[in-house]
Symmetry: C2
Subunit: 133 residues, 2 copies
């Protein structure tokens, strides 16, 4: 990767944050992380690969659940330290069975009184996503 991609700024853990956005509706689906290998595999395969910080391993989005993200376009920001991925999400992005991981809406105020309201319904039961293979 001896080209413009070599200028990408990974953090001290070798990772870069990646926003996945549904390419046609504009819905922001996930914020996840890539290392250089995940980025390379994503570009090579046109499917999203990430680095799991909890499992400390590469994973192809949807490899277990079938809810893959097809890559449409990758866009780096001005500082080359964040990525926006326009994707086509198969099914749901969230392990809770919701389309997007961003469903905990902060409502009300002032600060002492704010509450979180879930603003998306589950489309797929989670046990169906991660049941026996």
């Amino acid at each position: 990767m001896d080209n413009i991609l070599s200028k990408i700024v990974f953090n001290q853990d070798g990772l870069i944050p990646v926003i996945a956005q549904q390419y046609d509706t504009g819905m922001v689906l996930t914020l996840a992380w890539m290392n250089r290998e995940a980025l390379t595999k994503t570009i090579a395969e046109n499917r999203m690969w990430y680095w799991s910080r909890s499992r400390k391993q590469l994973w192809q989005k949807g490899e277990t659940s079938g809810q893959v993200q097809q890559l449409k376009q990758l866009i780096l920001d001005c500082d080359l330290d964040a990525v926006l991925a326009l994707v086509d999400q198969e099914g749901v992005a969230c392990h809770t069975g919701r389309k997007s991981c961003f469903f905990n809406s902060i409502e009300g105020g002032p600060i002492e009184g704010v509450k979180i309201k879930i603003n998306q319904r589950q489309i797929v039961p989670p046990e169906k996503l991660y049941g026996e293979q």
Copy 2:
């Protein structure tokens, strides 16, 4: 902040990544970082405050340039470790004078041949954003 917001997961540096998305067009504008104080001020003032990792200080988006982000809605993700902020961006979000910071589109392939193509024009000359006050 002794409520649901106390469950938010900040990283080892006390920060959480925040995606700012233009509330009506769906354009992803920036990925920036908040500490707890920035989040508190954002909710209190309905304007976006961030933590500058380079300058190591709180900053209100647009305090120098005038390009403020009015907060419309804050949404936490399933893991409570990332924030999506729906905002109304005054003028341009990017210090380069572009609407969004995500303008370096990765084009072509295979990997060895990819190039970055700038996919947004400058709306405001940067010197106008950060000129003499």
